[in-house]
């Protein structure tokens, strides 16, 4: 009896609770979160649009941009925007979009100048994003446009002049028309077996050591690919004999690893790394002796100038490969 009553009570309680969500009327809000203040929004609202919406006050000239660019950007993107190593190319490539290997740059491909301001402001310099002032961002935008011969050296970028820049490839884009191809579900005699052409894989450009016996896991490299492509085209690979003559066998063997895994930092000396070939930067280090240098390169090392990640961040490399890369770096820097 008592139990029954209790259950009945419970039942009512449950119905009430269940009824509550039913009372949320359409259009009623949860009310979670706090209203953002104008100041909070302003700090984060960094985006720019082609019509200039979002561009801040301030300005920057090509001349000021040149100095800043050489200081902050040229190590990776090259003095003329040509791109060091595999870092992105920022200038050139006009009229290459229909070629076998198009070069897509700010000048040859980007439709709007506003994108440049927006991107530099949100992401560059690569190692220190969001560190530039509004004026500096105008200077660098002006200079990269100048490198692409889109503005002249007198150009001063501000919110009106930048939005007014017309980019060469502005009309080069159209909205996705896909689905653009139509295949049929053919089941029989769909192709002429006599006419089938089978094209094999370019070998030696992917790391397959994990399943192919004898393959070197990280052998895949830009160089390996280029050499492969060249040899396929019947060209011979040029060796710079003078460069390699003075090196020991280990050092020569370490060159490819250096190119793949170490030059990103050491070729330019970014992040406080001793620059390749810079004798004074290497002298004190070399004096420590090879075993310690190799240990630092393998295990990583935080010294006075910066942080060397273990194996340069490429833990897939064998100790032996790193050792040879160190030999190449050391022999080339003393």
């Amino acid at each position: 009896m008592f139990r029954l009553v209790k259950n009945a009570l419970l039942a009512t309680a449950v119905t009430t609770v269940l009824a509550t969500p039913g009372m949320v009327s359409a259009g009623e809000k949860y009310g979670f979160g706090t209203t953002a203040t104008a100041e909070e929004i302003q700090g984060w609202d960094i985006d720019i649009r082609p019509d200039g919406k979002g561009l801040p006050a301030g300005e920057g000239s090509v001349a000021d941009g040149e100095e800043l660019y050489e200081q902050l950007c040229a190590t990776c993107h090259g003095l003329f925007g040509e791109g060091e190593g595999r870092w992105p190319v920022l200038a050139g490539g006009e009229d290459t979009l229909t070629e076998e290997r198009p070069v897509k740059t700010v000048g040859s491909y980007w439709p709007y100048a506003s994108t440049l301001y927006d991107y530099i402001r949100r992401a560059m310099p690569f190692t220190a994003p969001r560190s530039l002032t509004d004026d500096q961002t105008y200077q660098l935008s002006a200079y990269v446009l100048y490198l692409n011969e889109i503005v002249d050296e007198e150009f001063v970028a501000n919110k009106d002049t930048l939005a007014a820049v017309e980019m060469p490839n502005q009309e080069g884009f159209f909205v996705d028309p896909r689905p653009d191809v139509k295949n049929n579900r053919c089941m029989k005699n769909c192709a002429d077996p006599a006419k089938l052409q089978i094209v094999g894989t370019l070998q030696g450009v992917t790391p397959v050591g994990h399943f192919v016996e004898g393959a070197d896991a990280p052998a895949a490299s830009h160089q390996a690919q280029e050499e492969k492509e060249r040899s396929l085209h019947g060209e011979t690979v040029e060796e710079n004999a003078a460069d390699t003559l003075a090196l020991t066998e280990d050092a020569i063997a370490g060159r490819e690893t250096y190119d793949n895994a170490c030059q990103a930092c050491h070729s330019s000396g970014i992040a406080g790394s001793p620059k390749f070939g810079d004798k004074s930067a290497w002298k004190g280090r070399i004096d420590q002796g090879m075993p310690l240098l190799v240990e630092h390169a393998i295990k990583g090392f935080s010294g006075e100038t910066g942080m060397m990640p273990p194996k340069g961040g490429r833990t897939d490399l064998s100790d032996e490969q790193v050792k040879k890369a160190v030999a190449y770096m050391v022999e080339s820097s003393q």
């Binding site: 809000k29 929004i41 649009r49 491909y109 980007w110 991107y119 994003p129 996705d176 689905p179 139509k182």
Partner: protein
């Protein structure tokens, strides 16, 4: 397990046999080594048969693990895969990018089962490395053309009723290295920029309703909190349809690599639009044309013009068994297995060709068949050493049939980088080895 083709060298094998024969009597040992020799001779091609025959852990013997105790509970508070699965890892192709902080790695899809990608194996794509974010200091701001601009904490977001959905996520550059010719020697590199998880979060629609989108609002800018402040313009139509603001994957909070503590998920669309480390959503009346929707993620055609806002990942499929990493080890019955997926909906049918696309037979779909999710297909057949030119062709519920590479090249040329969803070909050789080829 993942690499049956990598046979032990004879020397390695003999060393192993010698190790395992320790403790046997001299005559046993002689016998044992002789067996080993025979086994070694028989296994030149592949297989672990030689080692298996030499093991003390096989019937009728009691395996060593049955004669001792293992580790106790919370030995590893967060469990890890077996030590024998150490080859099942993400991999990258070093020459693709200047360095690893703005780069991509691929999921080992050759080793995975079912349709869910384990969290630690979901492919990575970073533009400024992995942001390490304190969840209590993370904020999502919604502003622009809205009635009330709002800032949400993670706690606020998790108070909303949640939804969980299984969706694939794919980089539009998946397969993009092969427009001009085959050059990736493994499935992981031809198709591994692909993963599929159960994602949990709040529909973006709910958050937008909370802020109240003004009638002029047509596009959303989504932005990340990492050093690249990755940004993409997304049409409001998609945002109100199935876009999710996600905080969990496969049952646990997002992995840092996947945008912890908050990311966007645009089901079926190019992965880049699913902004990780999501911090800001701005409603506007026009798209922004940022770097990732002009310089990148636009598809250059042969005539020098480029397609923009190419969002959808069209129907695609690939055979995962056999594949270069999983060669055929024995004649006899074999399950041809693979995965199909479509950014436009469910997979309806997958067909398989053994002769390079001259004739096709229907495969079976198996397991869950979900909207914009990986779907498994399977066909059991027999292999007796005959060469095969294996292909799979998927059809989705809209009737779209996965195209040939020839059809794609004819329509687009070879410089578009993105959205290469053509029928893929594997050449199965007489020894069971599998090579990546292109057929035209």
């Amino acid at each position: 397990m993942s690499n049956p083709i990598k046979s032990l060298s004879t020397r390695e094998l003999m060393e192993q046999l010698a190790r395992e024969s320790e403790g046997l009597s001299i005559s046993d040992r002689r016998d044992f080594l002789k067996k080993g020799m025979l086994a070694a001779g028989a296994m030149t091609a592949t297989t672990f048969a030689g080692t298996a025959a030499a093991s003390k852990n096989l019937p009728p013997m009691e395996p060593s693990w049955g004669r001792q105790l293992g580790a106790g509970v919370v030995d590893k508070p967060y469990g890890q895969p077996s030590a024998y699965e150490k080859e099942v890892v993400r991999r990258t192709v070093p020459w693709l990018t200047a360095e690893s902080i703005a780069s991509i790695s691929m999921t080992p899809i050759q080793d995975l089962k079912g349709i869910i990608t384990p969290n630690g194996l979901v492919f990575e794509r970073y533009h400024a490395g992995v942001a390490q974010i304190k969840p209590e200091e993370h904020r999502l701001m919604i502003h622009g053309l809205v009635e009330r601009p709002i800032i949400f904490t993670m706690e606020d977001l998790m108070r909303f009723p949640s939804v969980s959905e299984i969706k694939f996520i794919e980089c539009p550059a998946n397969g993009g290295m092969e427009w001009k010719g085959a050059q990736m020697e493994a499935l992981q590199f031809t198709h591994g920029m692909l993963s599929c998880c159960e994602w949990t979060g709040v529909p973006l629609r709910v958050l937008l309703e909370e802020a109240g989108v003004k009638p002029e609002g047509k596009w959303i800018l989504a932005e990340g909190a990492d050093g690249s402040h990755m940004s993409r313009s997304i049409p409001l139509e998609k945002a109100l349809d199935d876009t999710l603001v996600v905080y969990a994957q496969n049952g646990e909070m997002l992995r840092p690599e996947q945008g912890y503590p908050l990311r966007l998920l645009n089901p079926g669309w190019e992965g880049n639009t699913s902004i990780k480390w999501l911090r800001r959503l701005e409603v506007g009346d026009k798209p922004w044309y940022h770097r990732e929707e002009t310089s990148k993620y636009t598809d250059l055609m042969a005539d020098g013009r480029a397609r923009k806002f190419t969002f959808v990942q069209e129907t695609n499929s690939v055979i995962t068994n056999p594949c270069p990493e999983n060669p055929i080890v024995k004649s006899g019955l074999i399950e041809i297995e693979g995965m199909a997926w479509s950014g436009r909906g469910k997979i309806k049918q997958v067909d398989i060709s053994f002769d390079g696309g001259v004739s096709w037979v229907p495969a079976n779909l198996k397991g869950l068949v979900l909207d914009k999710a990986l779907t498994r297909f399977s066909l059991v057949t027999k292999w007796d050493g005959q060469p095969w030119l294996l292909q799979s062709r998927a059809i989705d519920e809209t009737g779209y049939v996965q195209p040939t590479l020839g059809q794609l090249r004819e329509a687009r040329g070879t410089n578009s980088i993105y959205h290469k969803n053509s029928i893929h070909s594997w050449k199965v050789e007489a020894n069971g080895g599998v090579k990546n080829v292109q057929i035209s």
